[in-house]
């Protein structure tokens, strides 16, 4: 009986602790969400409503006018077709870059995971080195090379650069995954007469679903969010969405249309955000697997 008050005390302490814990967590989440909420609210306001100091105010008559203007009418430089031009440019870059870079990383990762000697580590190291190079160090010679090959200011050129600089992390991710595949499985396929590519496409690739999703999310957000490659290897005609957005915001004369700008920003963020929300834990695995080893 004497332990009774003690237990009650402990329960009470515990409850206070838990409440404080949730309070802090919720506060943190609010802090993380504030900028996004500000953006959404402002983008739903009308031009007249956007006044200094009203960023935390709810829109009186929420409307998507700013979104429509941002998408199809906003002027970027002299081009008044809105941010959608950038969107489609980004799609043109995104799809082939994603498919080709993941394929290249997976094939190279498979090849390296099956080389037996210590040279494999050396080559992996050489490839991995690419992940750490600041683009600024190589950008000038790369632009010159692209120009010589006729790739400057073309979607193909931007795609190639994305493949080359996506290769390191993707190779690492895939090689780590394929190292874990039993040798016997590959030997069985070799006895069955399958060659390198047949083994890869017929047996390994179908087994790689999870790691493909990881790569897809990692590269998908990375390539969509790229600015520096797009701005350096293209001209306004083929600028991806991020570059168009930055130009849109930076090139306005006179009154700043904050609601349109924020709508354009949200439009630009939507694809990676959706990818993030849909992929859930794969996103975390992607950024950490690219990171932890790197």
């Amino acid at each position: 009986m004497t332990t009774q008050p003690n237990l009650a005390m402990r329960n009470w302490n515990q409850r206070v602790g838990r409440t404080a814990l949730y309070l802090v967590l919720i506060l943190a989440c609010v802090a993380y969400l504030v900028p996004l909420v500000v953006m959404v609210m402002t983008s739903l306001k009308t031009a007249g409503e956007v006044q200094p100091g009203t960023i935390f105010m709810w829109p009186e008559n929420p409307s998507f006018d700013a979104w429509i203007k941002a998408w199809s009418q906003a002027c970027i430089g002299l081009d008044c077709r809105g941010i959608r031009v950038g969107f489609w440019n980004s799609v043109m870059i995104w799809v082939p870059s994603l498919i080709l870079s993941i394929l290249a990383g997976a094939i190279l990762g498979f090849a390296l995971s099956r080389w037996q000697t210590r040279h494999a580590g050396l080559i992996l190291g050489l490839v991995l080195f690419g992940a750490f190079i600041p683009l600024q160090v190589v950008i000038y010679p790369l632009i010159k090379m692209a120009a010589n090959l006729g790739l400057y200011n073309s979607f193909a050129g931007i795609v190639v650069v994305h493949i080359i600089f996506g290769l390191p992390v993707l190779t690492l991710i895939f090689s780590n995954f394929y190292v874990g595949i039993p040798v016997e499985l590959i030997n069985a396929a070799r006895v069955d007469g399958a060659g390198f590519f047949r083994i890869f496409f017929g047996i390994l690739l179908p087994m790689s679903r999870n790691i493909l999703i990881v790569a897809l999310v990692l590269q998908g957000t990375g390539i969509w969010n790229d600015y520096i490659v797009g701005v350096s290897f293209g001209t306004p005609d083929i600028y991806p969405m991020t570059v168009k957005l930055q130009t849109l915001v930076g090139s306005q004369f006179g009154e700043k249309e904050y609601n349109v700008n924020m709508a354009a920003t949200l439009l630009t963020s939507l694809p990676p955000l959706l990818l993030y929300l849909v992929s859930g834990r794969y996103f975390v695995r992607g950024i950490t697997s690219g990171a932890v080893k790197g």
Partner: protein, 308 residues
């Protein structure tokens, strides 16, 4: 009976590669050969080119007139570069420290078997899915003194509230810190949380039986165990500091004046706008060296642990 030795591996075929793909299929050799070629041309040769340029007097066009380390002397003599270079530390050190502290703190909180853990994780991590351009623009608007936070708080009644760091050349760099922490603390949280989940449950039991209070278990036992993860985070964040370009372009574009310039932006401007290839290359090489310096301890530790 001496059997004739057969050389199946055709050693003559590979003068410098002594690799084996189990049976040595030609396809895998081609794949790896291609990768090596790409790495050599796009990673190694390009860096070598920039390194060479940094020792020349190149301005508008690259030329091969070598002037020794003159460009580096110029570089560190220029006040613009000095500001950009110093900013790398003024921005980087508080950013890494705060992101690490906040991320770890959140990881510990989320590790307390909280309900709705997935929601918390999702919210803390979402900024990571955004482009640095977007991050920069968002925070530019929120922190812009006339339009954003300062006026908003004043409008709510706190008339003397002052937060005009965006407009102050001595403080603007810390607004970048704020935006970067908001963006990147999530990855620290994710890595540290993974680390916390990997701690052997029996360590907790042992510490509990010894009667050690929870906070003490974290400080003295658990966090020291997570040092490798923290190390990874620091390396990762530090490299992102050296590379960070979009954030400053979108948020302050180096301003006011050049007070929030960073080496990455300095290089891009020198190379592509100010037509100063020699100086730009020299600055780029300094960036590369910074990355190598950051990676050095990581590799040393890796090597040492492998030798064990």
């Amino acid at each position: 009976m001496p059997a004739p030795a057969i050389d199946l591996k055709a050693s003559s075929m590979r003068p410098f590669l002594t690799l084996q793909f189990l049976g040595g299929t030609p396809a895998s050799r081609i794949v790896v050969g291609l990768a090596i070629a790409v790495a050599l041309t796009c990673y190694v040769m390009t860096i070598a080119w920039t390194l060479a340029m940094s020792f020349t007097s190149s301005t508008f066009l690259p030329d091969w007139d070598f002037v020794g380390i003159e460009r580096y002397v110029d570089l560190f003599g220029s006040s613009r570069w000095s500001v950009a270079f110093a900013n790398m530390f003024l921005f980087g050190i508080p950013f890494i420290f705060l992101a690490l502290a906040l991320g770890t703190f959140l990881a510990i909180l989320i590790d307390q078997k909280v309900q709705g853990e997935a929601v918390f994780r999702t919210i803390v991590l979402y900024p990571l899915a955004l482009s640095f351009i977007v991050v920069g623009l968002i925070w530019q608007w929120v922190l812009e003194p006339n339009f954003g936070l300062q006026t908003a708080v004043r409008a709510m009644g706190w008339e003397t509230f002052r937060f005009d760091w965006m407009a102050r050349s001595d403080r603007v760099i810390y607004t970048l810190v704020l935006a970067a922490v908001w963006h990147s603390s999530g990855i620290v949280m994710a890595i540290m949380l993974a680390g916390l989940r990997g701690v052997d449950g029996e360590i907790w039991k042992a510490a509990r039986i010894d009667g050690i209070p929870t906070w003490r278990i974290y400080v003295s036992i658990i966090l020291p165990m997570l040092r490798p993860m923290a190390m990874t985070c620091v390396t990762l964040l530090a490299i992102s500091v050296v590379k960070s370009y979009e954030l400053v372009v979108a948020m302050t574009d180096g301003g006011p004046g050049n007070s929030s310039d960073l080496p990455s932006r300095f290089v891009m401007q020198a190379l592509l706008e100010r037509a100063n290839i020699g100086t730009g290359s020299a600055a780029a090489i300094i960036m590369m060296l910074s990355v190598l310096v950051i990676l050095l301890p990581y590799f040393v530790i890796e090597l040492r642990s492998r030798r064990r």
